[in-house]
Amino acid sequence: MPVLADMIARGRRIEAHRLCPRVVVDDDLWRAFAAELAEGHATLLGLWGDVGAVHMGLLLEAEKAISVVTIECPEGYFPSVGRVHSPAIRLERTIRDLYGLQPEGRPDPRPWLDHGRWGVRYPLAATQEPAQPARPYAFLASEGESLHQIPVGPVHAGIIEPGHFRFTANGEAIVRLEERLGYAHKGVEGLMTGASIEQAAKLAGRTSGDSTVAYAFAFARAVEAALGVDIPPRATWLRALMAELERLANHFGDIGAICNDVAFALMLAHCGVLRERVLRTAAACFGHRLMMDCIIPGGVCVDLSASGAAQIRELLSAARRAFPPLIELYDNTASLQDRTVGAGTVHPQLARQYGCGGFVGRASGRDFDARRDLPYPPYDLLRFEVPVRDDGDVNARIWIRIREVEQSLALIEQILDRLPADGPLRAPVTAGLPGEGLALVEGFRGDVLAAVRLDSEARVERCHLRDPSWFQWPVLEAAIEGNIVADFPLCNKSFNCSYSGHDL
C-alpha cells in the first residue's frame, strides 16, 4: 500500500531504531494509521506504552515490512486505536494499567492486568499513584431467557496456568465466553527496566516457559539490532536448531493433549513419548530440557558436539518411524474426528482482522510465517513449506500442527547438514551509542515480538515483549460461541494460548 508508505514518510524518523523504521507522528496521523488498520490495509503487530509515549507496531503485509509508529503524549492522552480497531482494546487497557496513559474515546474503560492488588497504580509510569481499593470486575452482561453463568478459574482442574473464564450458557450451548486474565502478571517489563542485558535475557527466557527459545531468540535479535552486532554463523544455525526442537516438542505434546481432551488417551501416551524424547535429546545436547538460557545476545552459550548431532539424527529417525502411524490413527478414528471436526471454528475474516499468528491463523487462511515472510538468518537459506487451511476448526489446527512437525523434522535435517564447522559461538556485546531494535521471531505458537531500547551503558531502558496470544485469546471467545460447554477444554487446548506470555 503506497498510502501507508507515504504516511510513514510523513512522520519524524528516529535514526537510532534499527532493522525497521520508527517514526513519531502527531494525533491526526496516528488516527489515520488506526483507520488504515481498521480498513485492513495493515496488521497490528503490537501496541505498547512507554514513559510519555505509545508505540504501535504495524505489519505491512503487501510489502512484507514492519514499521513502528510512535505518538508522544505529554498530557497523558492518546487517541484510542481500539475505538476503530478492536484487536487493540486489551492492549490499550494494559497501557493504561501500566503507564496511566489514557486512550481517548476508549470503548472499554475497565482495567485489564491490574486487579487492584499491586499496592500501586501505573507501576511503570514516571509518577505512580497509590492503589485504589479493588472493585469487583464488571463482566459483560448477557440478556435472554434461561441463561446461566459458569465461573471457572483462576485455579483450574488440570495442570495448567491461571486465568478466569466466565461462561454464559443456555442449557449446554455457550452463548458468551468472557476471559479475565492477568493472574500471572509478574511485572516482567518493570523488572527489565534498568536491568543489564544478561539479566534481561534471562527474564525474556521466562516470559513463557514453553517458548523460552523463541523469546530468548527474539530478545537477542532485538539487542543485536540495537547495537549493530553481527553474530558468528555457527551460532545462527544453532539458534534455528533449538527453535525447531522447541517447536517439535510443543507440537508433539499438544497434539496428544488435544486428543486426550476428548478422552483419547492413546494419542497422549504416544505423543508424550515423542515429546519426552525431544526434551531428553535437548538436555543431552544443550544441557537443559527446555533449552533455557542457551540463546544469549551475541550468539549462543553452548555448542553442539558431534555426538549431540548424532543423537539428534537418531531422534529424527525415531520420530519418522513413530509419527506416521499416529497420524493414521488420528485420521482413521471416527469417534475422535466426531469431536474435532466443526468444533471451535475461527472465521478467516476474524483471523485476518486480529492478525492471528501461528497455527491458529494458518488454520483459518492467514498465510503468514515470520520465518518465511520476514526471514531472519538462517531461515533465508532453508527450504520449507508453510501449511495453510481454510476450515478453521479444531481439526484444522491439529492438521496444521501435524504438517508443521513434518516441516520441522525436515528443517532440523537441513540445519544439521549445513551447520558451519566449529568456530566462535558468541560475538562481544558491548555498550556503544544508545540504540533501539525490534525483532519478530516465529515461535511454535506464532510470532513473538521483542522491542528493546538500550542506554549508552547497554542497560535496558525499555523492553516490550508481545506474545502471539494477545491476538489469539480474543478470537477464542468468538470461536467458542454456540459450542457446548463440555467442548471448551478441547477448543481451548487447540488454541493453547499462553497465560504467562500474555500477562507478562
Binding site: 486487579h115 496456568e161 516457559g209 514453553d210 504467562s500
Partner: protein, 168 residues
Amino acid sequence: MRRILFKSILQGPLTEPAPGVDDAELAALAAQVDHAARARLGRSLSIREIDAGSCNGCELEINALANAFYDLERFGLRFVASPRHADVLLVTGPVTKNMSEALLRTYEATPAPKWVVAAGVCALDGGLFSGSYACVGGVSAVVPVDLYISGCPPTPTALLKGLIALMQ
C-alpha cells in the same frame, strides 16, 4: 489402532526404574519432611497442582511426570482436580499478587492434614521475579511450606524424588 496396541505389548514398557532410595539428594529431601507427616501420608498421595504465576516451565515438567517414562501413578501419586480431594498442594511460581488470594483460598479449601510442596526457584523466594511490584515472592509468604524442590524448572526426576521423599 490394534496394530499400535499390539506393538506396544511386544515392545515392553518404556517406564524407567524409580530413582534410587539411597540417593543422597533424596535423603536430604526426606530430611525436610517431618517423620509424622510421612507416617500419616502412608503410601499414597493425592496432589493438587496450583500455578501461582509461574512461566509455565514448571507445569510442563509436572505434566511430563504422567508420561510413559516416569509413570507417576505407579508410586501411588495422583493428581486430583479439586483441592477438596487433595493431601498435598504442589505450588509453582513467584506467587503473583493477583494469584495470592486464589492460592490462600485453595489452601483453605484443602482438608487437614495437608502439606504444601513448593516447586521451582520462583516458589522458593520469587527467583528472578523477586522485588517485582506484582509478586509476593515465594510461596511461604502466603501459606506454610513443608518441602522445597529446586530447579528452573525442576526436572521430572527431581520432582519425583521430592514427592517420593514425602512418602518414605
